[in-house]
Structure formats: structure tokens, C-alpha cells
Symmetry: C2
Subunit: 388 residues, 2 copies
């Protein structure tokens, strides 16, 4: 159905996999991190900068783009790739997470969600079908199904209800996606004919609910499967445990996407439990707040100790920021409120994440992932708190 889609596992090392994902607009080497470009742009970066950092895929958000500039406008421009100038693959999150974050401003029923736009308060509605339509118009390479995401902690009963609604929605989303993909919904613009659709497993931190969700989602059948409802406040060990437990039951032939995670050490831990794809706002958001990731843990560039520090953020880093600028200059830009502080910090942090993934892929290829993992985590976590 999705002509552009394919996934090959080229090497394994324990539960870690080294794969290659074929999407309509190109190939993504996995394990991969997807920079977050919610509104069709990674905050503080140009597309040229994102490209130069070596990103192979960008994430955008259907909910945000539906509200502004509108999926119709994007479709008229030829889809997200033509509209944004980003030629490589794009994954669109459905916006389930965003809509369910609008506590008090949304009403959920089996039909879908009625909510108030965070932009102008106007009444809006989303359903599994309309979200599939929106993503078809956006023309992303990968469309995520519309899911009901729960907070943490959550009562078992509530988690079960949301998971089962997500399953019912998954069937409807897949049916609509099939109709669009097979030409039975010609009224919906389809700038990327080879679009793939990923299902989302829910169930919070209840393993039996996760099991039920996996079984039901596999029964619907998608190009690949994501693990939602984690990285929402639960302890890291719980996230690792549930992600690993869920990944173990997902097909070995499809990529596994842990949504919304995480810190650099989370990526390494999750790859060791069979995860192939990641997205997270931390490298970009924290950059704007002055936090820079380094091999020895994060540092806060605001700290007065860096005012006279002529060294780069990370002495071993090959990113454009580290090759050109000192901690002292970056601190000056941040304290002066210069926008280029956000740009330079974001470029560094994204490079750090993308480079971590490159190291992970190499380690799996060489069959030394466990050694790599221990060395990486030991160094990253040892001095984290003393340096910030």
C-alpha cells in the first residue's frame, strides 16, 4: 500500500538493531534521532543548518500545522517538503499528545476530540479520519495515527480506556489511510503518494495493558509501530522497562519508535532494548534555555564560571559551534539575549544527539554496543551534576 516504505535490519547486537528505513523522500539509518520541527521548522535553525548537521529526517506536528498555516495551504504549496524546503523525510505526529495536553479545553468521545484552538480559542474537532486526511494533505513520509495519550501517573482503569479507544481509533485511521492511499478518497490532496502510517501502542506503565495494545495494534497492521505514553514523567528505569517489554513483542521486521524520549543516556538505554527511532524537544528546548550537552554531561552556559572560559562547549565535538566559538562568547550571547545564542546552542545540542546516534550505529555494526553503552553512560553521568 505504501510503495515508498521499507525497513532492513542490517546488524544486531543483543537487542540493539542497526537498520535502514526507506521512506518516500529518502533513507534513514537507524537507530535515528528525529529533530523536532513542530511548525515546519526546527526552532532557531534554518533548513540549511539542519541539513548541514546531518539530520536525515525531521518531525513536524499535524495539529500545529492544521491550525496554522492550515493543511489546505500546505497542500496547495505542494506538501510540507515543497512548503518548507526540507527535501528529506518528514514524520508528522498526529497531535494526539498536544490535544490531550489541552486539559479543560477539550472533550473526548469515541467520535473524536472537540477542543478550542490554542491560537484563537475557536472550536475545532479532530477524529482519527480527519487527522489521516490532514496528514495526507501535509504530505509527510510517515503519518502517526491519532491516539489518546495518558499522563503519568494514571489510574489503571483510565489507562485501559484510553488504550482501547486508541485501538478503536487505529482501525478507523487505518481504514481511512487505506482509502486515501488506494485512490478511494480523491477529494483529499496527496502530495506524497508513498506515505506510510505508524500505529501507536498505549497502556501507560501497565505491562498487561501494553500487551493488549500491542496485540490489537498488530491486528490492525501498520508499516511500523510506535510506543506512546512514555517519557511523560515516569522514572527513567520504568520507561526503559516498559519500552523494552513492549519492543520485545513488536515485529522484528518493522522499526520501533519510542515517542518523546529523551536525554542522551535514555537514547543509549532504549537502543539497548530494541528501539530504532526517537524524537525529543530536549536538545532544542534546552539549548534555548542555555543548557549544552557534552560528553561529560550537560552544562549551563549561564554559569558565571564560563565568563572567562576560552574552550569550546565540548573539546571533542566537531560541530560548527564548537569549532568556532568559546564558552565565554556563547555565555555573552546568551546573557545579552542575542538570538544567535539559541541558534549556536541548538546546532551544538542537535549535533550532539545526531553524533550519539552515529556512535550507536557504529557500535552495533562492530558488535561492541554493550561496551560502548557502558563507556558512554559512565562518562556522561559521572560528572553531570558537578559541571552544571
Amino acid at each position: 500500500m505504501s510503495t515508498g516504505f521499507g525497513f532492513d535490519v542490517m546488524a544486531r547486537d543483543g537487542r540493539a538493531r542497526r537498520g535502514r528505513l526507506r521512506l518516500a523522500h529518502g533513507v534513514v539509518d537507524t537507530p535515528a534521532f528525529m529533530p523536532v520541527g513542530t511548525r515546519g521548522a526546527v526552532k532557531a535553525l534554518t533548513m540549511a543548518q539542519l541539513h548541514d548537521l546531518g539530520a536525515d529526517i525531521m518531525l513536524a506536528n499535524a495539529y500545529h500545522l492544521h491550525l496554522r498555516p492550515g493543511d489546505d495551504a500546505v497542500a496547495r504549496a505542494g506538501g510540507l517538503h515543497a512548503f518548507t524546503g526540507w527535501a528529506k523525510p518528514i514524520l508528522t505526529d498526529s497531535g494526539g499528545f498536544q490535544v490531550f495536553s489541552l486539559a479543560g479545553r477539550r472533550t473526548v468521545s469515541d467520535e473524536g476530540v472537540v477542543f478550542q484552538s490554542h491560537l484563537d480559542g475557536s472550536a475545532r474537532a479532530l477524529s482519527p479520519e480527519s487527522v489521516a486526511d490532514i496528514q495526507s494533505r501535509l504530505g509527510s513520509d510517515v503519518a502517526m495515527v491519532f491516539d489518546e495519550c495518558t499522563a503519568w501517573p494514571v489510574e489503571r482503569e483510565q489507562a485501559a480506556a484510553a488504550m482501547r479507544r486508541t485501538l478503536r481509533w487505529a482501525r478507523r485511521a487505518r481504514d481511512r489511510f487505506a482509502a486515501i492511499s488506494s485512490g478511494r478518497a480523491p477529494e483529499v490532496a496527496r502530495p506524497t503518494p508513498g506515505q506510510a502510517q505508524f500505529g501507536i501502542v498505549q497502556g501507560s506503565t501497565f505491562k498487561d495493558l501494553r500487551d493488549e495494545s500491542v496485540a490489537g495494534t498488530l491486528a490492525v497492521g501498520f508499516e511500523a509501530y510506535a510506543i506512546g505514553g512514555l517519557s511523560v514523567g515516569e522514572p527513567p528505569e520504568v520507561m526503559y522497562d516498559i519500552a523494552g517489554h513492549t519492543a520485545d513483542q513488536l515485529p522484528a521486521t518493522a522499526p520501533r519508535y519510542l515517542m518523546g524520549a529523551g536525554m542522551p543516556n535514555d537514547l543509549v538505554e532504549a537502543v539497548g532494548r530494541g528501539i530504532d527511532l526517537f524524537d525529543c524537544v530536549l536538545p532544542t528546548r534546552n539549548a534555548r534555555n542555555g543548557q549544552l550537552f557534552t560528553r561529560d554531561g550537560p552544562i549551563s552556559i549561564k554559569n558565571a564560571r564560563y565568563a572567562g572560559d576560552d574552550g569550546p562547549p565540548d573539546a571533542e565535538c566537531q560541530c560548527p559551534t564548537c569549532r568556532s566559538h568559546s564558552r565565554a562568547y556563547l555565555r555573552h550571547l546568551f546573557m545579552a539575549g542575542e538570538m544567535s545564542a539559541a541558534t549556536l546552542n541548538t546546532a551544538h545540542n542537535l549535533h550532539f544527539y545526531l553524533d550519539t546516534m552515529r556512535q550507536i550505529r557504529k557500535a552495533i555494526e562492530f558488535g561492541i554496543f554493550e561496551d560502548f553503552k557502558h563507556a558512554y553512560l559512565d562518562r556522561y553521568t559521572r560528572r553531570a551534576h558537578s559541571l552544571t
Copy 2:
């Protein structure tokens, strides 16, 4: 005295000059526009982006850098070039304009200016000598003298007093510069031994006061001469007339710098009256407000008419923004408040200014400056108001 400095006029066309300025950190082809990087950074751009746009020289501000991060800190880092990572020439404005803008928070005497820092309200003092010291520590290629800048309109008596104080200060600034340059002030760090110092002609829009200022400033003697106190609200024709009148009396062998001007048409008009150097915040500030310069006049990217416009800001422009992005996307980024809107708009506007200067230099070389000027102004001004 300033070993690094030199200026050659390679071609003339009417009063327009095609020159080459040799500074401690490199060569600047004139007429030239200097992007404004007040605090050691052009707002919304990285140094790599500024370099890629083809800028040959950047302007920074001694007043701002003195307050933060401090000229001592910059000197300890090895000067502005080492601190910022900008390897090409830097001109530092003295901060006279900024200090005199602090109406109600500064007291002027012949000794200098006592004022309150705009950052923390702390009491500060600047004198012609201390500003020379600050700029020596900053290590710019060109240091501007500390001048008393008047607003417009201004009473003749007040303009005369400020101009004559500027002359007295020019002598003191030059004496201090000479002491530093010749090694008689070893306590002042001097990361750029070949620093040049430019004098500033004042006198508002009174031609006889301008004449007196030129004579007095030439009597002190500087590597080059700037025309201050214009582009502060007077009508464009008055600015052109005073700039031309003043330029005609300045030595043909030295570059002439019209401070703070202007719109693209102002640059073309002023070159035709013998001006060689420009700086202005308009291309960068207006970019952040959504104004884009085009060959057919400025446009406001906020305008709803651009929501569905697939064309680049300027169809003939070769800048990275125009080569990659549509008006519709740039409008979306601006309306969404994405920082990259500022970056992409700034890159375009600076490219437009730098490209205007390239066209000007070419026209002078070919001896067709008058034809170029008429064609440029005719196109730029014809539709300016209909398009915005």
C-alpha cells in the same frame, strides 16, 4: 602610526569612488556596507552565515561591549576577533551616539560624559581617552573617536557647541591613540597593533558648522573621516546635500564614512556624492519586523497576500533565503513567531544590501554609475508603496 592601514582609489565616476581599504585583519572593497553587530554579533545570524553572505567588515559598539561583557574580558580573550570568531575587519563605533541617546540619564561636560548604565543603572563615565582605551582593548581594526552627537532638528548654537566639543575631544582622543599606538601606554592591552582611528565631523545640517568641523578634524589628522549627526530624522534630500557638501571637503586620499545611513536608495545617492562606507541597523532590524527589501521596493511579509505566494521574496535574488524558501513559508514562520524567520529575513536583507554595494562597485568600475543609479532608483522607488 597605524601600520595596517591603507586606502587606494582604483576608479572614479563623477564623485563616486571605487576603492580598496586595507585594515589590520584584511581588505575591504569600497563602497562598502558594514553589517551592524552591536554586541559582537549580528542579530539573528551566526558568524558563519555572515561570512557566507560575503560581508568583509562588521561593526560593533564599544559602549555596549564596555558594559557587557567588558572590554577587559574581551582583551583577556585576545580581542574581539578571537572572542567572537569573526576573522575579518571590525570597526567599533565609540558609543557617542548611544550615550547621547540616554536623555535624562547622562551629564556632559568637557571632561566627558557621566551616565547610568542601561543594563543595571550603575554610574559610569566615558571620556575621549577612556573610549580610546576601551577600543584598544577590544582590538578592532578601526576605532571611532568619542563624539557629541546632536538630534535633529537642533538649534544652531547647540549644534555649534557640540561640534566644537567634538573637536576638542578629537585632539584628546588622537593624543591618547598615539600614546597607545606608540607603546607609551603599556598598561592598555592592544590585541590589534595595527588599529586605525577615524575622526567624526559634526555640525548637524549647518554647512558653515560642517566646514568648521572638517577644518578642525583635518587639523588633528586621522586615518579617515566619518560624517556623524546625519540620518537622525532629517529629510533624505537634506542628508544627501550635507553629506555631499561635507564629502567634497574631505581628503580624496582617505575613505569617507557616512554613519548610520540608510535605506538602499540612500546608499546609492550617497555614493554618488563621494561616500565610501556605510553602516545601518535597517536591514537587520527591519528583517526582524518582517520587512524584506526587494529590487522593486520593500515588502512586509506579514501581509496576508503572501499566504499563498510560492515565489521567493525577490525573484532575481541569489541569497540562501530566496533560493530555498517562498514568501508563503516566510510569512508562516513570521506569524508563528519562529526565530528562523528573523534569521532568514536578516540573511536576505543583508544580502540585498551587500549585493547593492557589489552592483555599485561594478558600475563605478565600468564608468556607468549614473545610469546604474537611475535604473536602480527608478525600479526601487516606483512600486515601493504599492507592494508593502
